[in-house]
C-alpha cells in the first residue's frame, strides 16, 4: 500500500511544486496524468526516492520513506521499488539476461536466473536473452525494462511515460502487461504520463495541472 500526502518540492531555479495526496493499494493501479511542465517527472523521482521532498510523506506498507538519507534511500529503492524509465537504458556491454540479473546483484539479493527466464517467457522475449540490449527494437527494450523492474518483486512499480512512443495496439498491450504483472506479484502500479489514451483505462487517477 502506497500512501502519499502533501508532497512539495522546489528546484533551485525556484520552481515550486506541491502535489495532491493520493494512495494506491497493493495490486491496484494509479494513473497520474499531466501535461509537460506540471511536475510529472519530479513527482516520479520523488516517489522513486531520487529526490528528497521538502515536506510531505511517502509511506509504503506504513513505512516512512520521504525522510531517508541518500544511502538508505538507495537501499530501499532497490528492494521495494521497480522503476521503468521513460527511455529504456541498459548496461550496454551486458546481454539482456545479464542486465536482468544485474538488478538482483545491485539490490544485493540472490541472483535468480529462473526469475529472469520466467519473466522473459511471460513478456515474450525469451529468445532475446543472450543478445546485447543495443540490438533490440524499442518495443523489445521496453519489455526488458519492465522485466527488470519486476526482478526483485517490488512493492511498488513506477512507470514513467511507458506508452508515449507506442501505437494504439502496442499501447494497450504494454498497459495490460504492466497491470497483469503488478497484480501477479501484488505490487501497487503507478503510471505517470501525459498520454490521454490511458485516461479511460484507469479508474484511479490524478490529474496534475
Amino acid at each position: 500500500m502506497l500512501t502519499v500526502s502533501n508532497l512539495a518540492f522546489s528546484y533551485k531555479s525556484q520552481r515550486k511544486f506541491s502535489f495532491p495526496s493520493f494512495s494506491c493499494a497493493q495490486g491496484d493501479a494509479l494513473l497520474i496524468l499531466g501535461n509537460s511542465g506540471t511536475g510529472k517527472t519530479t513527482l516520479l523521482h520523488l516517489l522513486a526516492l531520487l529526490l528528497q521532498p521538502e515536506s510531505g510523506s511517502i509511506q509504503i506498507n506504513n513505512q516512512e520513506f520521504a525522510k531517508l538519507q541518500p544511502k538508505a534511500a538507495t537501499k530501499m529503492r532497490a528492494s521495494h521499488l521497480g522503476i521503468i524509465y521513460q527511455k529504456s537504458h541498459f548496461v550496454s556491454s551486458l546481454s539482456v539476461l545479464e542486465n536482468l540479473i544485474l538488478a538482483n546483484y545491485l539490490a544485493e539479493k540472490p541472483l535468480s536466473k529462473e526469475q529472469a527466464v520466467r519473466l522473459a517467457k511471460s513478456l515474450g522475449f525469451y529468445e532475446l536473452l543472450d543478445k546485447k540490449t543495443t540490438l533490440l527494437s524499442g518495443g523489445e527494450q521496453q519489455r526488458v525494462s519492465i522485466a527488470r523492474a519486476l526482478m526483485n518483486n517490488p512493492d511498488v512499480i513506477l512507470a514513467d511515460e511507458p506508452t508515449s512512443n507506442l501505437d494504439d495496439e502496442n499501447c494497450d498491450k504494454v498497459i495490460n502487461l504492466l497491470e497483469n504483472q503488478s497484480k501477479s506479484i501484488g505490487a501497487a502500479l503507478v503510471i505517470v504520463t501525459h498520454d490521454q489514451r490511458l485516461k479511460d483505462k484507469f479508474s484511479n487517477k490524478i490529474i496534475l495541472s
Binding site: 517527472t41 529526490l51 529503492r77 541498459f90 548496461v91 550496454s92 556491454s93 544485474l102 546483484y105 545491485l106
Partner: protein, 409 residues
Amino acid sequence: MLLKISWKNILDKKLNSFLCILLMTLGIAIISLLLLLGKQLQDKFTKNISGIDMVIGAKGSPLQLILSSVYQIDNPTGNVYLSDIQEIAQNPLVKEMIPLSMGDNYLGYRIVGTNKKYLEHFKANIETGILFKKDLDVILGAQVALNTDLKIGDSFASAHGLDAAGEVHDHTKYKVVGILAFNNSVIDNLVLTSLSSIWNIHEHNEEMENSEDKVAEHPENEEDVDMDKREITSALIKFRSPMGLMSMPRNINQNSKLQAALPSIEVNRLFELLGIGVDGLQILAAVIMLISGISVFVSLYNSLKERKYEMALMLSMGASRTRLFLMLLLEGVLLALFGFMAGIVLSRIGIILISNQISKKFHFDVSQMSIQTGEIYLFAGALAIGILAAALPSINIYKLNISRTLAEE
C-alpha cells in the same frame, strides 16, 4: 559481477582497449628489455673484471687498454717489453701477473698468447684435449669451437691483425690441442696459445722480410736481443692487498714508459657513458607508458560520457558510488595488467631474438629470463598509471546527479 562488467566493457570497446594495451605493452617491453640487457651486460662485464686489479700496457687511452686486455673488444694500445713488466711484477705488492700477447686472429677470433694463469684466473676448464705445451699448440674457447667447427687435431693459419681480413701467416700453422668448456666470460671467444707461439710466428715473419730486403744488421747477437726485448701487449695484475691500488698505478704512470689502468674505474666510466643512452631509451619507454595511461584516460573519459545514463541507472538500482568507482578502476587496472604481461612476454621474445642475432659473439645466459627486481617496480608503475588514468575520469561518478541524468533525454 563487477569484474565481469569491467571485462565486458573492455571487450565491448575492442579497438580502444587494444590501443591502450598496445602502448602499455610497448613501454613495458622496452624498459624490461633494457633491464634484461643491462643486467646481462653488467654481469658479463663484472665477471670478466673480477679479480683483476690493474692492467699494464703501452701508453694511450686507459679505457682502450682495459677494453682490449680485459674484454678483448678494442685494439691494443701497442706493445711493451716483457722485461719492463717483469720488473714491476717484482714489487712485493703484486700477487700475480698474467702476460697477454695479441695481434693475430682466426676468422675474427683473437689469438691470445698467455700462460696457464689466465685460464686459472677465469676458472676455465678444458672440456676435451690438453693444455698447450709446445709452440703453436692452441686451445679454443667454447664459442670459437662451436662457430668454427675446428676439432682437436685440426690445424689452421692465423691472419695478422685483429680482424679476419688481415694478411695470412700461411707458412706456419697452429694446431688445436684442447677445447674449453663454456665459461660465460670473454675466454669463450678466444683462441689461447703460449706466449712463445706468438713470438715464434712473428719472428719467422721478420726473418722472411729481412731476408727479402737483405738487411740483417745484427745477425750475430739477435738471440740475446730477443731474450731481453721480447714484447707482449699487456699484463693483468692482481695485488696482494689494496695498498697496491694506492701507490702503484700513479708510480707507473708517472715514472715509466708504461701505462697502468684500473678496470674498476674505467668500467664505471664506460657504464656512465652507456648509461646516457640507456637512460634516454628508458625515458622514451616511460613516455610511451605515460601515453598509454593518457589513452586509458581518454578512452574511459569518452565512454563515461556515453555511459553517464548507464551509471545513473546502476546507481538508482542500488549500486553505491564507491562500487561503481571501483568497477571503473578495475577497467584501468585490467588494461594495465594485460599490457604489463604482454610487455614482459614481448621483452623475453626480444631477448631471444637478439641473442640469436648476436650469439656468435655473445653467449647468452638463459637463466636470467626470470622476473627482474626492476620489473617489480615496473609492475607497480604500470598499475599506478592504470589506476590513476582510470581514477581521474571516474571520480565524476561521485558528482553524478542521478535524478537529473535520468530525467534527461
